[in-house]
């Protein structure tokens, strides 16, 4: 919300500087987004009168002006200025920049200089040079009507630009601060001045007397006839619009607003429209009281506050048509909807320059209804912002009265009496039981009761004694707990913690002393869970192996999700179609990142991400790595660049699982990695037939094509939730870190090599596994070291050579024992169709 310093001073009697006000606003919880002071930048510019204008002796398009910049400038003597503006002429008033002035619109600083041989002591400025607009056809020529320009007057003063504008952000709990008056009340409570009595307090230029609106009787302005017939209004939707006050102004002229009003609205970024509209906008900001004004000539019959009919349309003042439903409150006449109640008026009954008779509406709309309607229609407005926070229900009459008066003052006419349609009571904030010691026990700041009482009083709260009477400040302070009365403009207050906040923020939250949290004795205990440790370990293992961690979007496009099997969750309101489906796999994000990297010239991409996949039955933590581009670049020793293969993926998968503490040696390499993978070059790593710990291999070319990647890509997926908890953790070992005793075998192991001829289709891993199992006591390892096909190997077969490690127990193997083991090995292999090569 924006307001100007002078506007604030209508409500707050203060001498505080702009800086002090801004600092205080921040301190008490009204965040200052910015303060702009157009006047400060224009301070050196002053009004000057052109005394004479002669042609420049050397240049047709230049003139030599003598300029009177006021009695205090150059001893009252005119100064010479060379000017190129075609409209410069004698006797005109313009805006003069003395030498040394920084010109904001052109970014230069004026210097004394000679232009084509004639000296110039300053500059006459255009609108654009002042940074106030685009006008640059000539210099500013000030009009000869009120306010009359006087040479020497600072231009900012003349133009009313020296009124600093505050831009503050109001939290949703403070409807009162959506009006300048509420902000003034907070500042007064914080000690920055005195809240001005509740008066209409317009700019003095408007020649408005300051008077108390509460004097309902004996109205001092003769043309307001409160006894004249008010407009007819009624309420059918008591929930959405419990109160509907209205007043009629007839025979008025909807002219432009006076300068002071236009200036204020412009200063806060609003466009003045016409007096009747401007007045409603003014009070919306001044006291946070939104109003609406209808052109009575365009209404048919009386106004009613009712629920909209499903499908009913209204063309709103923003030029858009809204389709309403039965949950929304509207103001309508006999024929049509004229106002989306409390949010935006309708175009049809809006006032124009020809309007003479108006109905002025001042209603209370229920915050819930307003919020829901606003959300559904995706429509926000100054009125909605206030109604959904909760407009003060006790300034209905006053708000309407003030608005009508100002409209009448500007536009003339005759005002009617006020109709007060009330369908139900509006709940006022209830008194709160408050123990003043809470300031210390919850707020952390010990404050004397008296100071707390004073703060509450200055904010409009009051203490209530046992008899229900107000406890005045000079009565002293009552015993705890207090009963605190809550003003009508603070619907947010509903408990003692709210009172603590009021007291602490005004007393100064910076005064709350820091209090250390109690600390358990000794060194801090470890807190990470096994899952967290697993995640950290995997991440750093991947990074240590040369993979770069990326973080990609959790949501992807529908067709990207479809490429990896489709997502279970999609957004109802995505920010774009590209970010719509919750990823069922981390591959799409990484494939897209890889594509971007390759387009940027990367030759080798090793990316990984550790994040969640979003499945129908939960969110699964997964590490996915993608390897594409060159595995090794071309090199003087290695020759051509080498691409990644499925075995690179396998190496990563096993290394990561090893780091994760999975029994990497016991894993089975099985198929069914899924449709995203190359059917012949991918596999899963399983613990038992069902538990899939990882998938790895080459990605399917169709998947790569869907993501616009040319080359082959290898990938690994590690499913963290499937990895069994690492056995033998400190706690499982009985609370110690003790490892099993170190017992190296007494005798040295021996190795024997076996070469088998096997059918092509036999998986090498199966043969190795069978051999390992041939004699579990003696065989400690079996490692494949050669694979050969071709000359000497039968068609449809391959030769596999395996080195077997045999570990003797307490005595060395005899030849007979070695032969027996070898026989077992050969027998185990032959079950798989393998024959020992001679």
């Amino acid at each position: 919300m924006k307001f100007t310093l002078s506007w604030l001073k209508d409500h707050l009697d203060t001498d505080a500087s702009v800086e002090t006000i801004a600092a205080t606003l921040n301190r008490i919880g009204i965040e200052v987004e910015g303060v702009t002071d157009a006047g400060a930048a224009l301070a050196p510019f002053r009004i000057a009168r052109v005394v004479s204008a002669e042609r420049h002796p050397q240049a047709d398009k230049l003139q030599v002006l003598m300029v009177d910049a006021g009695p205090d400038y150059n001893g009252g003597q005119p100064v010479q200025v060379v000017c190129g503006a075609p409209n410069a002429e004698a006797y005109m008033y313009g805006v003069f920049a003395p030498p040394g002035t920084y010109v904001p619109g052109s970014g230069i600083t004026i210097r004394e200089s000679a232009i084509r041989g004639v000296e110039s002591f300053g500059m006459m400025c255009s609108t654009r040079e002042l940074g106030l607009g685009d006008e640059h056809d000539g210099i500013i020529s000030l009009p000869d009507h009120s306010p009359l320009p006087v040479q020497g007057t600072p231009y900012a003063d003349y133009a009313g630009l020296n009124d600093p504008v505050f831009d503050v952000s109001i939290t949703p709990n403070r409807p009162d601060c959506m009006g300048v008056r509420g902000i003034a009340r907070d500042l007064a409570a914080a000690g920055l001045g005195t809240l001005v009595e509740y008066t209409i307090s317009f700019h003095p230029d408007a020649y408005w007397p300051w008077y108390n609106v509460r004097e309902k009787a004996g109205d001092p302005i003769p043309h307001i006839k409160l006894d004249a017939a008010p407009p007819k209004v009624r309420i059918e939707d008591a929930e959405g619009c419990p109160r509907f006050y209205a007043q009629r102004l007839t025979g008025c002229t909807n002219r432009e607003s006076p300068e002071w009003l236009q200036r204020r609205l412009r200063a806060i970024g609003q466009k003045p429209i016409s007096a009747l509209v401007d007045v409603t906008n003014y009070f919306t900001v001044d006291v946070g009281r939104p109003l609406h004004v209808y052109d009575e000539a365009k209404l048919s019959g009386s106004l009613v506050a009712r629920k909209a009919k499903p499908g009913e349309n209204v063309l709103a003042l923003n030029g858009k048509t809204y389709t309403l439903d039965e949950t929304m409150t509207v103001i309508a006449d006999d024929v049509a909807v004229h106002d989306i109640g409390g949010i935006m008026g309708g175009e049809h009954s809006g006032v124009s320059e020809t309007t003479t008779d108006v109905v002025i509406e001042c209603a209370y709309f229920a915050p819930d209804t307003i919020a829901r309607t606003g959300q559904k229609l995706n429509l926000t407005s100054d009125a909605r912002q206030r109604f959904e926070r909760g407009v003060d229900p006790c300034i209905m009459y006053d708000g309407l009265y003030m608005a009508t008066r100002l409209m009448h003052d500007i536009c003339g006419g005759t005002a009617s009496g006020i109709i007060e349609a009330e369908a139900r009571d509006i709940a006022l904030p209830q008194p709160v039981a408050y123990d003043p010691s809470l300031a210390e026990t919850l707020g952390g700041l010990a404050l004397p009761d008296k100071q707390q009482h004073e703060i509450l009083d200055s904010l409009g709260f009051w203490l209530i004694d046992d008899a229900g009477e107000q406890f005045w400040l000079h009565d002293g302070t009552p015993d705890a707990p207090w009963i605190v009365g809550v003003p009508s403009w603070r619907p947010d207050i509903d408990g003692p913690a709210d009172i603590v906040e009021e007291v602490i923020r005004i007393a100064g939250i910076d005064n709350v002393p820091s209090t250390p949290l109690p600390r358990a004795p000794g060194v801090a205990k470890p807190t990470a869970t096994p899952e967290q440790k697993l995640e950290r370990r995997l991440r750093r293992t991947a990074a240590a192996r040369g993979l770069n961690e990326a973080v990609t979007w959790s949501f992807i496009a529908e067709q990207e999700a479809a490429a990896v099997g489709g997502g279970a969750w999609s957004l109802a309101n995505p920010i774009s179609e590209d970010l719509k489906v919750m990823r069922p796999s981390l591959l799409p994000g990484l494939l897209m990142a890889a594509g971007r990297n390759l387009k940027r010239g990367a030759t080798s991409v090793r990316l990984f991400e550790l994040g969640r996949r979003y499945l129908a039955d939960g969110e699964r933590l997964t590490l996915t790595a993608l390897l594409t581009g060159d595995r090794t670049p071309r090199g003087w020793a290695s020759g051509k660049a080498q691409p990644f293969t499925a075995y690179d993926a396998k190496a990563e998968a096993l290394a990561l699982l090893e780091a994760a503490g999975a029994p990497a040696g016991n894993l089975q390499v099985m198929g069914e990695a899924g449709d995203a993978w190359h059917p012949g070059q991918s596999a899963t790593l399983r613990l038992g037939p069902k538990t899939v710990l990882a998938s790895f291999g080459m990605l399917h070319p169709a998947l790569l094509k869907a993501f616009d990647l040319d080359g082959p890509a290898a990938a690994v997926e590690i499913f963290l939730d499937a990895i069994p908890a690492k056995r033998g953790g400190a706690n499982e070992r009985g609370g110690g870190f003790m490892r099993p005793a170190y017992t190296p075998p007494a005798l040295q192991a021996v190795t024997r090599d076996f070469a088998f001829l096997v059918p092509d289709a036999l998986a090498a891993g199966d043969l190795v596994r069978a051999i390992r199992g041939a004699d579990k006591a003696a065989i400690t390892d079996a490692r494949l070291f050669d694979l050969f096909t071709g000359a000497g190997v039968e068609e449809g077969h391959k030769s596999l050579a395996i080195e077997v490690t045999l570990q003797p127990g307490d005595k060395s193997f005899t030849d007979a024992e070695l032969k027996a083991i070898a026989d077992k090995i050969v027998a185990a292999a032959s079950k798989l169709g393998a024959t020992l090569r001679g």
Binding site: G29, P367, T515, A524, N548, A550, L571, N597, S604, P633
Partner: protein, 362 residues
């Protein structure tokens, strides 16, 4: 026996003169072989009288020793030269490049989360997690944000399509983890909850997905003073600076009361905002870093705890933002682009594990 001396001189000269290992071996055979001159002399010892042996024996043995040593020395010398010559022929160009091993990296978000976990572990906080696809109750209702509350307009919420028992949203903050913790863990509670959060917002400083970290402390007798100390202590530890200055501003969050926004002072150094120093100094300013407050009674109640017995505080901040403030990135969108150049520039080594003894920053 000048012939012995002569023999010795001749043999030593021959050893010295031998130009290669073969020549040297020929000399050895000539002197010490079965038919060698020295061997012959040694054989004569047996026939000598004891007196003669006593006199001549040591001289012959001396000769044998001298020749043996000379041969060994010459052999070592010749071998050394041969090796030198061989090695000289094996010279390679060591300016040729070695194979480059790819360097991996940890994303700054992960690194900062690890840093935060380390700091808060010292303060007794555990790390808690919760789902990102969250139900309406945990994300809003239990946090005292009713359906029509204007605060819901502050969160531009992503809703999930389809029919669900209650509306499902992408969590707009990490605060639902507060609820999940309080409903599952008996107090006292000290947790932080880092993770992804989502808001329907996108511009230079906002992305629809970003990372937050939530803190929650529930105990008896906690006040705003404890909150203030905790945040000061955490920020000093995180930025590893003692000149961290905080400015607390009253604010509003539906799930805390009183609520406080926290600004941290920065100093402008070469046009960059460096955290530290007073915000009100000539070269300084304030930057909003945290939202916080005393947990609202209604939230404690919603979690089944007695607000008259338990009270506490909560705080939340952006992990991405903390990373940017500490390490100097200026564009949030780059965090999620996966650009290898960026990851290598701003990422961290696998070995940069944050520790308190080494300082959490890297």
């Amino acid at each position: 026996m000048t012939d012995l001396d002569q023999l010795k001189a001749d043999l030593l000269a021959a050893i010295d003169a031998s130009s290669g290992l073969d020549a040297l071996d020929a000399v050895r055979v000539q002197a010490l072989g079965k038919q060698g001159a020295v061997t012959g002399l040694l054989k004569t010892l047996g026939q000598m009288s004891p007196e003669a042996r006593q006199e001549t024996g040591p001289r012959i043995h001396g000769l044998r020793e001298a020749v043996t040593d000379a041969i060994a020395a010459r052999k070592a010398s010749l071998e050394g030269s041969a090796l030198e010559a061989k090695l000289a022929s094996e010279t390679i160009d060591l300016t040729l490049p070695a194979d480059a091993v790819p360097a991996g990296s940890v994303h700054p978000i992960s690194q900062v989360m690890d840093e935060l976990a380390e700091i808060f572990a010292d303060l007794g906080f555990a790390v808690a997690t919760g789902p990102e696809i969250e139900d309406d109750w945990h994300n809003f209702t239990a946090l005292n944000i009713p359906e029509t509350h204007p605060a819901r307009a502050m969160h531009d919420t992503f809703y999930l399509a389809g029919e669900h028992e209650q509306p499902m949203v992408l969590r707009t903050h990490t605060s639902p983890v507060q609820i999940r913790t309080m409903t599952s863990t008996p107090p006292p509670i000290r947790i932080i909850a880092p993770g992804r959060v989502y808001r329907s917002d996108s511009d230079a400083t906002h992305t629809p997905m970003f990372h937050q970290i939530e803190g929650l402390v529930i105990d008896k007798g906690l006040t705003l003073g404890h909150l203030k100390w905790t945040l000061e202590t955490f920020l000093k530890a995180y930025f590893e600076r003692d000149d961290i200055v905080l400015r607390l501003r009253p604010s509003y969050f539906p799930f805390t009361e009183p609520s406080v926004e926290v600004d941290v002072g920065y100093t402008l150094i070469k046009g960059k905002r460096v955290i530290g120093g007073g915000g009100d100094t000539a070269t300084g300013g304030w930057m909003e870093v945290l939202g916080s407050g005393m947990v609202h009674r209604k939230v404690i109640e919603a979690c089944g705890l007695d607000p008259n017995e338990w009270q506490g505080f909560a705080f939340g901040t952006g992990v991405d933002r903390l990373a940017m403030l500490k390490y100097g990135m200026d564009d949030l969108r780059a965090f999620f682009d996966g650009d290898l150049r960026w990851l290598k520039h701003y990422g961290f080594s696998a070995l940069d594990v944050p520790t308190l003894s080494g300082g959490v920053g890297a």
